[in-house]
Symmetry: C2
Subunit: 342 residues, 2 copies
DNA sequence: AAATAAATCGAAAACGTTTTCGATTTTCCG
DNA sequence: CGGAAAATCGAAAACGTTTTCGATTTATTT
């Protein structure tokens, strides 16, 4: 591996000059600048990034922690982050928390000890304590949270308006004539889950529909899976014969439920209308296709990195940066799983 | 940020001793070892990884280049790689080539200049030149390729037996009575595409079915998308009225084709049987569900990292390591899109 | 108690870069 | 041609760690 020293010896000049020449310091004459550039590329010189990192105290690398990777929404987010990071010359290290608080804590420690320039995180469902996050902030490592956030933690965030989106979804069910609307809410803790539930509830109340807690299905230790949807669907049929609409936290769960309904002879949307959440690609190709809320994963990733980048830049210049909260637009995509009743 | 120096000053001993104490050198007394450990954790000492990298010439970080991220198979591979890397204390930087040779080359350069400890790669469809790969090997950076490989390049590989899998898929169509079997092969270049095509062809010949090139649909600049499947399906109906079975390179394309057939009133599997490839989760929940070849993404990721790890370890010990080629098992999953004709 | 062996420590170099600041050279102008 | 100003260069410190090897201390033996 060729170093500055070798180039210097080759040309009979000092390491300093070589370094400055390569960084186009006005300090060194055009002639030597050119000379250095040429022999550098001739020898195929590549700066030793380990040394650069040590010297500059930055690695142009950020860390990303997400609950799951094999997931349409999250992999879209990853893509958004990476594509944006690339533009600014940053690399991204990906870790997954597997929806476990303990693992999430460990991954944060790992990233901090690796001294990444910043951290992007979407919380695990089980995360209720935020010490590991405030630790990041205390160490002055830029942090931005996206999608599954903790409102308390003081940092930039990029989210959607879950409450509004859930309201829209529920209102749609009401508009097409549903009278008994259930909700599969997933876990209890995550902010999204809370907000979507609140949106659902508010839509009911605004339309003078009595809120019935027994219509809300919680899966405390759930994994938002296909199976979870099937189980909830079976349980729902046992508990309530009169439900004619369901707003479900996630497309995958919704698809599981729909599959189970079809299997048990319950017609969707004729007997039960279903609205999902996230707009997984899958939802558009199954039959019946799923009405859902579009959640812009790629955009969310892009915006998350952009915010992080601003924080990193501000920190480098010792400026302080007012944390921002970006709220992305969602929209209702009406497909075959919901139909006006008559 | 606390350094070895600060601990040394705190205890009135040398930096050397502190460093050795923390690494449990037998060289330093148990008493001072304990003392150092305690004050280190008291001061919340974290070794500066930049300095460690520079000194040890390794970063415990590997690079991963894949064609696409938002993709069931590839995201499974990512998960497999990350989970295995974590066990060995490695972090992974992910880059995507977006199926572009140019971008792939750029990403390789990036990783090499970042001096990652090793590189994992699955080739872009357009990659026909391998200079960038041999460059990696020449620089003595461990390299292993997976799934979309170049046979010529001398390095460890983990793949499936695409030819055999395609043969099995085609044989299944023949077994259920199909006489005119088409093939959507995707791009021309990738090894998988070639092998799957050869498997298809061999199955036909072994069963005394004449191979008809006009039944093979190539999408040179295709993206293996849902849309591609729809287009091919339409074209096929125009070209050939008598086709009763199709073996399709990828599930997503297969699902696109199936959707189009249903839309155009062609019954699957009654009129045309379809076999896909990869076993995307989606394939099990659509209707009709898709017969396909299961491709073990997670396992492939795990094995790829394991091989890379062996190469990295061998390199550190200056041993040479005979490149290995791991071939993973696949299996045919029969679902509703194929049915015995009568 | 002296001689030897064993245990424990630390000075210093090295990894390769960046940057400050002083030194030297060149240019320019009267 | 002399002097000041501008242009060009390089010595050296610093980033924080690891490791070699010699020095010092302690323990052991005769």
């Amino acid at each position: 591996m060729v170093t500055l020293k070798q180039i210097a010896e080759e040309l009979g000049i000092s390491i300093t000059t070589v370094s400055k020449a390569l960084k186009e310091y006005p300090d060194v004459s055009k002639k030597t600048r050119k000379l250095v550039r040429e022999t550098a590329s001739l020898l195929n010189y590549k700066p030793n990034s380990f040394a650069v990192n040590l010297r500059t105290k930055e690695s142009k690398t950020i860390g990303l922690i997400i609950p799951v990777i094999v997931h349409h929404f999250f992999s879209s987010v990853i893509k958004g982050i990476i594509s944006q990071a690339e533009k600014k010359g940053y690399l991204v290290i990906i870790l997954q928390s597997d929806e476990s608080y303990e693992l999430e804590k460990k991954q944060v420690d790992l990233l901090l000890s690796k001294r990444v320039d910043g951290i992007l995180i979407s919380l695990a469902n089980g995360t209720g304590d935020y010490k590991h996050l405030t630790d990041i902030i205390e160490q002055e490592t830029p942090l931005v949270m996206f999608d599954k956030i903790a409102k308390i933690v003081k940092c930039s965030k990029v989210i959607i308006d879950d409450r509004k989106a859930a309201y829209t979804a529920t209102q749609h069910l009401i508009d097409i004539g549903c009278k008994r609307i259930a909700h599969f809410r997933g876990a209890l803790l995550p902010q999204n889950s809370i907000d979507r539930f609140l949106g659902y509830k508010k839509a009911l109340l605004d339309n003078n529909i009595k809120y019935d807690p027994s219509l809300v299905y919680v899966n405390e230790c759930g994994d938002m899976s296909f199976e979870e949807g099937k189980e909830n669907a079976r349980q729902l049929l046992k508990d309530h014969k009169d439900v004619d609409g369901i707003f479900i936290n996630t497309d995958l769960v919704a698809i599981g439920a729909m599959t189970e309904f079809v299997k048990l002879g319950v017609k969707v949307p004729e007997e039960i209308s279903i609205v999902g959440f996230s707009n997984w690609f899958m939802s558009s190709v199954i039959s019946p296709s799923l009405t859902t809320i579009n959640q812009p994963g790629f955009d969310m990733g892009k915006n998350a990195f952009k915010l992080l980048y601003k924080e990193i830049k501000a920190k480098k210049q010792n400026k302080l940066f007012a944390h921002k909260e970006v709220v992305l637009e969602t929209d209702l995509i009406i497909r075959e799983s919901t139909k006006t009743l008559n």
